[in-house]
Amino acid sequence: MPTTVIKRLAACVLVSATLTACAATPSGNDASVQSMRDNDPLETYNRAMFQVNDAIDTVLIRPVAWTYKNVVPGHFQYQIDSFLNNLSAPVVLANDILQGNPDRAFNTFMRFMLNSTFGLAGINDFAAEAGFPRHEEDFGQTLAVWGVQDGPYLVLPILGPSNPRDTVGMVVDSFLDPFNYLARANSAEAFPWGRRVASGIDTRAELIPQYENLKEESVDFYATIRSAYRQRRAAEIDNITESGDLPEYDFGNGAMDGAAFDGDAFDAPAEEIQEGGQAQ
């Protein structure tokens, strides 16, 4: 049973994460102070897992994604992308509702209806042209809207950057998905896995060449991804493109620059980390 496997995997990750977090109680040296500021108490494990993921990406995932991107005609890629997106619509809809956002829920509902019919089972994003643009929601975002903090940074095997909140969200999403139940009822147990792999390849292909560029260019690739992941999640949670809220930070002005950094909103998370640390 695939879901059991996911559950067990998630449980293992969470348990080991908590254990390691407890083991890595700050001892007051520079490295642990830095880890607290980065909200990354598991940095040693995370960096190792990041390396493993990157190695798997280099030998397996990227070659497949590259082949997909360069061999499969663009038109089919668009259809596959649309089809996979349409499959995720029920989960997006559920999260729109759970977040108390009727406008978005209506939008997703219309998208699913239009694309499943006129869009020929989702292979065309007919709805986007009809004025219902696509958006993403997941249960990790729903938890955030409900006020759940993200917790420490966590690199998951193969799945990559995450945190306890988003990991739980991912598991919940798989339970929210009617297609998973449909597949099980029809003994098509490979379906959820096939779909997950397809989504992974599709997403990875879209990141060529950005991922490679970033990897070559950054001085500390791990820290870059960690920061970008968090900012991106924060933007997704705020539905940033709609509300237009931007992170507050201060570029300072002239002679005030040095002082301005002290009041910088981005130094604030360190306190939250300490609170989180005490809670454990």
């Binding site: 070559e216 820290a223 900012q231 940033i240 620059d257």
Partner: protein
């Protein structure tokens, strides 16, 4: 006695507090900001990215444009954050130069990826009283979803300058800041400078 001594100080402080917002207030109007970004986009595409000149010439043209329109000094200072205080001026200077060149080179590498996209300026928002956000979208001519890009502007040296670019919610300055913070904490500003210098060399060679 003390009060008499302090009174002028308070007065000075009051003047400074009142004058500060005025001095700091951005003189960038929304129209000016939008025109500024549109101009950068047009020049960038026509005279640099899509121009029919060798890559080396493109990079040089981009460097000129970048230095003229980006407030890299402010960005670099923000990126260093708390590490800029009490740092060796020589290392700070070195960082400023390396950071600038590094940015020129990584953008220059991306010119090849240009595929007819267009940048549409969609609006502006005030950035408190300090500057202006200009919102824009990169529209792919072959379809696909537009990418949201927000430009953060500050008045510097008598004109608007870009101090940050926020792509789909990810701020470049903040990402650099977070990345460099990790390195400086491990190996100091001189360590970061050495690593940046190496990157710059690699990017030049590649």
């Amino acid at each position: 006695m003390i009060r008499r001594f302090l009174a002028p100080l308070f007065l000075l402080l009051a003047v400074a507090v009142v004058a500060q917002p005025n001095a700091a207030r951005a003189e960038i109007t929304p129209e000016q900001g939008m025109a500024f970004i549109e101009n950068i986009a047009n020049k960038g595409i026509n005279e640099v990215i899509a121009a029919d000149v060798p890559q080396q010439e493109k990079t040089q043209r981009f460097r000129d444009m970048f230095l003229a329109n980006f407030g890299t000094e402010s960005t670099a200072r923000f990126v260093l954050g708390r590490h800029s205080r009490g740092a060796d001026p020589e290392q700070l200077d070195r960082f400023q130069q390396l950071f600038r060149e590094y940015n020129v080179l990584i953008w220059a590498r991306r010119f090849d990826e240009y595929n007819g996209q267009e940048l549409k300026v969609t609006g502006t928002r005030p950035d408190d009283d300090k500057g202006l956000f200009v919102e824009s979208q990169v529209v792919n001519t072959e379809g696909g979803e537009p990418i949201n890009i927000v430009w953060r502007l500050r008045e510097r040296e008598g004109g608007p300058k870009v101090v940050d670019i926020i792509v789909e919610g990810v701020s470049m300055a903040l990402t650099y800041r977070s990345e460099y913070d990790a390195i400086i904490s491990r190996s100091g500003l001189s360590g970061l400078n050495d690593q940046l210098a190496q990157k710059v060399q690699e990017l030049k060679g590649g």
